[in-house]
Structure formats: C-alpha cells, structure tokens
C-alpha cells in the first residue's frame, strides 16, 4: 500500500472541492472518497488503487438516513450501511428485492461497513484486474490488453463484453436497483444533478477503465427509489457456495399479476454482465402475457440472445436462463 493523505470533511461542499482537483473520477483518480472502505482499501492493499488523497465522507451529517419523501419515493443516503438498508422497514415493506439482494452479498461484517454509494461504485472481482502480476488489464492499465480473455474466466461476463474487457460487475444491490429504476443524486462542481441508474454504468467497449457517468469531483449524496404500485418481487442468486461468494447468475424481478396477466414487469440480472444488466427483451416478452413455462422460457431465450461466452463460461447461458425461469416461477406463485 502506498502512503496517502487523509482528510475528514464535514460537508458535501468540502468533499467536492477537494475531489475536483483530480483530473478523473475513474481508475487512476488521485483523490478518492472513502466511506465503508470495504472495496477501496482492499484494492489499495493490492496496489490496484493508488490514490494520493483520501477524503473521508463518513462525518458528513444526514447522509446515513433512509427517508420516505412526500411524493412516495424513498430517499437513501449515500452513507446508509448495507445491513441497515436491508433491514429498513420501508425497504422490507415496499422494496423487498433490494433487501434480499443486499443480504445475499458478502458477509455480515462487510455489510455492516459497506455503504450505498460505495456499493454503487463497487469494482469488479476479475482476478486479473486484482493481481498486479498480470501486466495485461485494460481496466487497470488502458491499452495493456486483457489477460482474462485467454485466461481462466469461468465467472466472467457473457453480456456487454468487448474485445477489451469481460470483467463481471460484482454487485448484488445494484441489480435490484436496476429493477427499481433508482435515481442517483450527485453533487458536483457545477451543482446538483440526477442520473437514472440505467444511464449510470458504462459498457466496457474500448474504454473499460471508464465505468460510470461520474465526473471529477462528483459526490453521490443519495439514491431515490420511485414509489411503486404493489408488486411481487424476488432476488434469486445462484453461486458456487452458500456464503461469501459472488453470483454466477442472479435475477431481480418486480412484477404484478393482474387478471392472470403479467404487468409492470422489470427484470435484471447480475453475475452475467459487465454492468448490472436490465433485460428489456425479457420484459417485453413477459408484459401482458399469462404466466407459464413457455412464456418464461421465451423471455429467458430473448434476454440471453446476445450473450457472448468464452471457453470457460459458456455454462452461464443455460444457468442464467434457468435462474430467470426459476425466479419468475417462484415470484408469480408467491
């Protein structure tokens, strides 16, 4: 780990002012915000992240609250810990998919530290990204190549991949936020703005080191979840072991069944994409249909049509389909 400067700030303004000095908000940024630190410190120890300056935002007041807004939406502060969010009464009552997703991730100790904004910025677990012994990683060192494509990539992405990067997005929480149409609220040097989660994550393309829409100085202050009509929800996570493991495939689903027809269907998957993967093809195939095995299968087939596996991860296509079918089946019967 390199030496770094640490500043504790008490206001979002102070945080943004310091961070604006850095030329980039992405990998290589010289200033980074630190909240729970469960991801950043990990990568600093491995020298994958080498910020010269950490800005500790934990003491900014009011960022650790979960509040119901007058318009019915839910406002979740950037510093709300994953375990607190998972147990928040409003989340349990109205957004259970989020609670389930959070509780399926990491361990209790990590969830007690990890925050909402940190989870939104969680970086990939690609072993070649994590291990400096591999010189090739376009995400870590743009233009250096991709060691994963010719290496061991059993748990790498099959959706949204490029010739430059196949790293899987690791978060569970963000998959749930995709189906809840979360809105990310950002304070930057030019003021405040909002980014719908669907526009937040960037595909790797030819710039795998650019992972999201944040600009230098941007601080995520909170996330809002729009009010939902009454829906059925599920987060189903398939993984290699029961705890402490990332998804091989996971499905987040929000839907209604009205008069025997599926309505308001939202489907997203984790563990399979280079970003949390919303599946409009599946939603389209399901919307207005009567639930049943054939419909579910058609939706899964449509959603995975563009999947591009490599040698070790071809099994993820059938697994992802099974995951989605099973989640749809379970949630319709709930």
């Amino acid at each position: 780990m390199i030496d770094f400067e640490l500043t504790r700030v008490g206001t979002p303004d102070a945080a943004v002012q310091i961070a604006a000095a850095t030329p980039t908000a992405q990998q290589g940024a010289t200033v980074r915000f630190i909240a729970g630190g469960t991801n950043l410190i990990d990568y600093m120890k491995l020298d994958v992240e080498t910020p010269q300056h950490l800005v500790d935002i934990n003491r900014i007041p009011d960022l650790a609250k979960v509040e119901k807004q007058p318009d019915g939406s839910l406002k979740i502060g950037a510093l709300v810990r994953n375990s607190d969010l998972a147990q928040a009464p409003e989340v349990l009552a109205e957004y259970p998919v989020l609670s389930q997703a959070l509780l399926s991730g990491a361990s209790a100790q990590l969830r007690n530290k990890a925050t909402t904004s940190g989870n939104l910025l969680q970086r990939t677990r690609c072993p070649y990204f994590r291990d400096l012994a591999y010189a090739e990683c376009n995400k870590r060192t743009p233009g250096s190549g991709c060691a994963a494509i010719g290496g061991y990539h059993r748990n790498h992405a099959i959706l949204g991949v490029s010739d430059q990067c196949i790293a899987t997005h690791a978060s569970d929480m963000d998959v749930a936020l995709m189906v809840l149409d979360a809105v990310i609220h950002v304070q930057g040097i030019k003021g405040n703005r909002t980014i719908p989660i669907g526009e937040f994550y960037k595909l790797p393309g030819t710039t795998p080191h650019i992972e999201n829409a944040l600009e230098p100085g941007d601080l995520i202050t909170h996330v809002t979840l729009p009010a939902l009509p009454e829906t059925k929800q599920i987060y189903l996570k398939l993984r290699d072991r029961a705890s402490y493991e990332f998804a091989l495939a996971s499905a987040a689903i929000v839907m209604q069944v009205q008069g025997g027809r599926l309505r308001h269907v939202r489907v997203a998957m984790g563990g399979v994409g280079t970003r949390p993967w919303r599946m409009p093809e599946a939603e389209h195939a399901l919307e207005g249909q009567a639930p049943g095995e054939g419909v579910f299968r058609a939706a899964a087939d449509a959603a995975l049509k563009t999947a591009r596996p490599h040698t070790d991860n071809a099994f993820k296509i059938p697994l992802a389909k099974l995951c989605m079918i099973r989640a749809l089946t379970t949630v319709t019967n709930a």
């Binding site: 290496g151 398939l238 099994f315 989640a327």
Partner: protein, 771 residues
C-alpha cells in the same frame, strides 16, 4: 490424588488455546527483529526452458538490494527430501512455472514487489507435459531422468502382489473395469508459508510456520554445507498446515537463510495468498484403474489395480505418497488375489506434496466408487457387497498383514447405516425422486487408514523423546512434534499428566527448537498420538523410575509430593531428565522389496455416510447430512478428536464437489480465494461424529492415529450418493455443477412447472426468499 480422575479421555482445554483466543500467540508475521528486511522470490513464468539471461530492469535502485542466485549457495544447490533432484534455485533449466530463480531482499516491501516485476528471465523454451497421460505417452518428451528413478518421466513404481491374479480371470462370473481420477487440492491453511532467517558466524537460524523442524534443519545443512550444530530451526505458532508445511518450509527456509547470509541482516519471507497457492505444494492428482474378478454371489476373487499420481516437476515426497496410496488402494477388503502397479510420474507442474491422507484419499476414491459399480453389476446392494468382502480378524490385508485387532466392520456398517437412517432414506428417495426436480441420494464408503510411517519407516526415524523437570518442579515435554491446530500439545500433555499422576495444567511442552528438543520425527502420517504419544508415556515412566530409584518418591504420592521429590532430585543431581527412544514392536515385519508384510502397526477403521441433494435445475450437488463413524482406538481428547473428524469431513466435502485447481500449462489459474471455491460453514451439513474405541497396544492408553482418516472417506461417499440420486456415474472429483450439467442436461429435467418448484429451498445456491 489427581490420577483418580482420568485426564486421558477428558476434554482438556487446548494447551495454547488461551494465547490464540486472546491474541497474544505470536505467528511468524507478528515477529520483528532489529534490522530485519524482507525477502521475495523471482519465479519462472514458463513451464520449462533453458535460461539464457537474467535482466535487471531500469528504474530500480538495484544497489540497495540483496540479490541471491544459485551461485551464492555455499553448499549443495538442492532441497533434499528423498532425492537431490530439486534445486534450491534454478541454475540453468526451469522445470515448472513458479520455479524460484532469483531471491531479492530490501527493507521496503512495496519496492521489493516492483523489483520482482522488473527482473526478466530470458529463456529458450523446452517441450513440457502437464498431465499423467501426457507424461506417459510413448512420444512424450523426457522431462525428468535420473538413475534413481525407475524410467524416464517416472519417479517411482511399486508392484504389490498377493496370490496369482492371472488364475482368476478364466473362472470369474464378472470382470468389472473402471477408471477413476482425482484433481489437485490446495491445503488452504489460514496462515500462508512464512519464515524469518538469521545468519552469523555461529551458524544459521530459521524461525517459521512449519510441521517438521528437523526436515528444514537437514535441508539447511546441505544447502549451507554446515554441520548440524551450526543449524537451528525454531517452530513458531503455526496457523494450520495439513501437510502443506511438511516439505515446503525447507524451500522458503533455505531461501530466507541465503538472503540473510548475503545481506548480513535478518530476513523475513512471508508469501501472500496468491503466491502461496500458485507456488507451493498441493495434493497429487491421480488416476486409478480397476479390473476386478467377481463371483456371481459378489465375492471379490481377484483384482488388478493401476494407480498413478502426478508428482509435478521434482520427486519431493512423491514416492512415499505413492506408497501410502498403493497400500490403501485395496481397502478394508479380503482379496484372495491382487496385483497393484503404481507409479508416480513427472510433469511440468509445481511439485505436488503432502496433504492430509497422503495418497490414500486418491486410491480410496477409486476403490469405493468401483465397489458401487461392482455391486450394481452383480445386482446386489452396495452394503451387501461390502459385507461379503470385509476383512475379518485373522484375515490378511493385501500386503499379507495378519489382522490381530478384534475389528468388526460388519458391526460398524450396521451402526452407521442405522444412525443415518440409510435404509428408510433409500426407500423414500426412490419414491420421491422420479417426480421431484431435486434428486436426493444416500451413499457411503468403508475404509481404513494406517497410523504411523509405512513399513520400516518408524524404525528408520528412530524417534527420541525427553522429559525434563524445570525449576518449579514441573515436567516439560521435549519433542520436535509440532502444534498446528490439531492438538499435539494438548494430547501429549494429557498423556504425560496421566502417566505421572499429576495435574494436566502442571505439564509443560517446550517450543520446538532443534537446539533444545530431540528429534521425535516429523509431525505427519497420523503418527503423533500413537508413536510420539507412546514415547511420551514411556519417558514419563522412565522419569518415575528414576525418581523412585533415588528414594525420593514413594510408590503412591500426591502431585505436591511429586513436585517436592522432583525439586529434591534436581538439587542432588543438577537435572532431572528422562528419555524414551522408539523400539519397533517384535511382531512387525516389512519387506520393502516385495512390498509385503506389516504395512502399519495399527489401522483406524471407518464407515462414512453422505446424504446429498442434486438440484436438476442448477445442477448443483449439496451434502445435506453426514455421519462419520470410526474406530480409532482410545480417544485421548473427545473435543479435539471430534474437531479432527469435522475438519477432515469438511475438507473432504471440498475435495468432492467444490475445490478445483484449474491448470493452464502448469500454472494454477485460479489461485485466489474468490476463484478457488472452498466450502464455508454455511455449505456444510450437520456432521455426526461417532466413535468406537478398541484400544491398540501400540499407542498410549490404546490410542491410534486419527488425523488423516477423515479425509479419505467423504469424496467417494458423496459421489456414491450422487449416483444414487441421479442414476448417473461420475468418476472424477471434484465434481462441479458444470460436470453434472454436461451429463444431466436434458430438457425434460429442466422443468419450470410451478408445482415442482414449490419446495424450492435448494440449499446453498438459493439465497432468495419468496417475497
């Protein structure tokens, strides 16, 4: 008097438990010496080749670094185990990826890492082989050849024969063939390999995390050309080992000592997890081929077994791993005729080494899977097949060893099947499986594990144990046997306390330091409780004899009287010390050439039952329940013994269905905890540990070995259960969901029908709850 309550057999608290729990136990990375610097290793990134140049790149202040190559080795460039083929540092030819070539030391760890990356090894590639099949192919490149080996690319072969197997084929009702294979497995101790070395005119000293101080002691003598009194090895608190710290500390220990010699400063080398997983030893991959003659009523008439293991690039411990695997390949069965051909082959993978079970889990996996195939073929139950072929007292093992202990394998099988509800479950699953997407099954394995070194090994070890009374009148045990979580300290203190008729807490055990403790042999091979424990008992008796002979101790005494007598003796004689040296039992004979005779003084026997569920929608197998019944002689400490079994079963479950080493041209490709899937406690079923205790004359108070046994049975029991559940034969472990998918994938099984999905609590993979 303390002796009234039995200390042996009681759950005495762990000797070092308090220090570990309260955090004041010092592991190697907790130690800091004045002036200490850090060491690191430059390794090959290719499997085989001739080094043409070593380049030290720009941007590194190389003059600040201590740089060691093979030229700096004062003695022989070898890490000695059985042969001297394994260099300490590569001189010219690289034989496997991650092979150490250059050592660097510097005070700044971050700079050290950059320096390692800045060294480039230029080389001419040479052809390489990576599997048993590639190594034995007729046109394979010769990658290893030595007069000491049996043929090119073959480190060692054994031929074990009983009767005349040629005669049985003509008359057999069935001839059943099968091939079984097992993958490598990482030991995954919590603490990685690490040492600190110091060098001065007085000699070389190494502190480290290890199992066998005297192995490293010997390795240092050769590498440094020093007499034994100038080499010193001290074991510090060790965070797990499982065999992974049997031979490897000799490598890292010599490396750190070379850097210490050249730099003139203490040098610490501690591997990180990725380096430890990629570069250090793992369990040998194996292949077992069976050809078995069976009568129509299910009697084993004779068999041929071909057992092969992949030793990696150097001999290291492969011949002894092969030996144990060979002897255990016959299982606890009566074979009138048997021929076992075994070989350890060379590949260009990092050398494979010791791991709990030491060859036996590999060959037992093959045999116990094959037994279920035989049962199916003959048309009897797996249970009945075993019952008709179990070894009995008075029978002889495959090596011709007469069974003298009153073992009752039929009784054990009955008990294990009753405890697990085996028959009822089999019937239930047969009913429910056809309509359920979750296929359930129950299977078992019966097996044994020899305690102590094979054959004449213990004679050669010639172990010595001492007990010395300290200035407070308390006896201290002096052994080189090490504690690494399994309970050595505790059980040896229990044995001494019971024998000396004093309190458990009044017995001490010395830190293993080759300047202080005699060589009681390595801490391996399930030998510590039985062999070293017996020597501690003998030495305790010798101490009492000595005290009584002096007239200071009566025939009966209190612990206080013992203490007073001991101090009085010390005052008169200067010291009070007794020893005991291993003496081979008179009735144990072994012929190393014919591989015949008494392979082990005693065996532990076991029946393990596994209940599994295979989800045909995710293809994931899960162990739902587990029963482990074993006869291990007297249980010295029930809590530790149970812990050994639970840990071994957990490791066995990992071996069976989770832990896969992925190799790409000899490089471990998944050398991270994220990618190498070790089961967590959440993946483990309830493990019911059951003991039977038939005292053995060879161990203290009747104890036998227990450490390795629980690693042998889980994998075949689990795969037998998976076959019961799915009807599909899988003959390789680890068995991952992808492997099950390949054989099971069938649209009719992938049903999303809601009625079938209702009981969808498919265990570990199913983390969601219905909203």
């Amino acid at each position: 008097m303390a002796a009234k309550e039995s200390i042996v057999g009681s759950p005495a608290l762990r000797y070092e438990g308090e220090a570990k729990v309260l955090g004041y136990a010092k592991y190697i990375d907790d130690l800091h010496f004045p002036q200490m610097i850090h060491g690191a290793t430059v390794r090959s990134k290719f499997p085989r080749g001739r080094i043409t140049a070593i380049r030290y790149g720009e941007g590194i202040p190389w003059d600040e670094f201590t740089i060691v190559t093979w030229k700096d080795i004062p003695g022989e460039n070898t890490i000695v185990h059985l042969l001297k083929d394994h260099p300490c540092l590569v001189q010219e030819i690289v034989n496997h990826p991650e092979e150490p070539i250059v050592l660097l030391a510097h005070p700044d760890k971050a700079l050290l890492r950059k320096a390692v990356d800045a060294v480039t090894i230029e080389y001419e590639p040479l052809p390489a082989v990576f599997t048993i099949e590639e190594s034995e192919a007729p046109d394979a490149p010769v990658i290893w050849n030595s007069e000491a080996g049996d043929s090119p690319n073959v480190f060692k072969t054994y031929l074990m024969e009983k009767g005349h197997v040629e005669d049985v084929w003509a008359t057999a009702d069935y001839i059943i063939e099968g091939e079984y294979s097992t993958g490598a497995q990482e030991q995954f101790y919590i603490e990685n390999n690490g040492v600190i070395a110091e060098y001065s005119e007085q000699g070389v000293t190494v502190w480290g995390s290890m199992q066998c101080p005297y192995y490293l002691h010997h390795a240092l003598q050769l590498a440094f050309g020093l007499p034994e009194q100038k080499c010193r090895v001290i074991q510090v608190e060790t965070g797990g080992a499982f065999g992974g710290k049997e031979d490897y500390p000799s490598v890292i220990g010599c490396h750190a000592a070379l850097l210490a010699m050249k730099s003139g400063r203490p040098v610490k080398m501690v591997y990180d997890r990725m380096e430890d997983m990629a570069a250090t030893t793992k369990r040998h991959p194996s292949r077992t081929r069976h050809r078995t003659a069976v009568s129509k009523d299910g009697k084993l008439l004779g068999g041929e077994i071909e057992f092969a293991i992949d030793g990696g690039a150097y001999v290291t411990l492969s011949p002894v791993v092969l030996s144990r695997g060979t002897i255990h390949a016959a299982g606890p069965y009566n074979w009138p005729h048997l021929r076992i051909r075994a070989k350890a082959v060379a590949t260009n993978c990092p050398p494979h080494g010791a791991f709990r079970g030491f060859g036996a889990p590999q060959s037992i996996f093959g045999l116990e899977r094959h037994m279920d195939l035989i049962a199916k073929t003959v048309g009897i139950t797996p249970e009945e097949l075993r019952r008709r072929n179990f070894l009995q007292p008075g029978g002889t093992t495959a090596t011709g060893q007469l069974i003298k202990d009153p073992i009752d394998l039929n009784g054990m099988l009955t008990r294990a099947l009753e405890e697990s509800g085996y028959h009822a479950k089999r019937a239930e699953f047969a009913k429910t499986n056809p309509t359920s997407p979750i296929k359930r099954g129950i299977g078992f394995a019966t097996f044994m594990h020899g305690a102590g070194f094979t054959g004449s090994g213990e004679r050669r070890l010639n172990s010595l144990v001492a007990i010395e009374v300290d200035d407070e009148g308390k006896p201290e045990i002096l052994v080189s046997s090490t504690e690494f979580g399994q309970g050595t300290n505790t059980i040896l203190c229990q044995v001494a306390a019971q024998t000396l008729h004093i309190s458990y807490k009044d017995v001490r055990i010395a830190q293993p330091d080759t300047d202080r403790v005699p060589n009681s042999g390595p801490t391996v091979a399930s030998r510590t409780a039985m062999i070293v424990g017996k020597l501690v008992e003998d030495a305790s008796h010798n101490l009492l004899t000595c005290m009584r002979a002096s007239g200071l101790l009566e025939e009966t005494y209190t612990p206080e009287q013992f203490c007073h007598a001991a101090l009085a003796y010390k005052q008169q004689h200067g010291e009070l010390r007794a020893t005991a040296r291993y003496q081979a039992p008179d009735d144990i004979f072994w012929d190393d050439d014919k591989y015949h005779g008494d392979a082990y003084p005693a065996y532990a026997w076991a029946v393990y039952v596994a209940e599994v569920a295979v989800d045909t929608r995710t293809y994931m197998a899960e162990v739902k329940n587990f029963w482990a019944l074993q006869e291990v002689g007297k249980v010295l400490n029930p809590v530790l013994a149970k812990g050994q079994v639970e840990g071994g079963v957990a490791q066995g479950i990992g071996y069976a269905i989770y832990e896969k080493c992925v190799w790409k041209d000899g490089v471990m490709a998944n050398n991270q905890m994220t990618n190498y899937i070790m089961p967590t406690s959440a993946d483990l079923p309830p493990i019911h540990v059951l003991f039977e205790e038939v005292p053995s004359i060879h161990g203290p108070f009747g104890a036998k070995g227990i450490g390795e046994l629980p690693m042998d049975g889980p994998a075949p029991a689990i795969l037998n259960a998976i076959e019961e559940a799915t009807g599909v034969r899988f003959n390789h472990c680890p068995l991952l969901p992808e492997d099950i998918f390949d054989k099971l994938a069938n649209p009719t099984l992938i049903s999303a029908d809601s009625s079938q999905l209702q009981p969808a609590v498919a265990g570990p993979v199913f983390s969601g709850t219905t909203p």
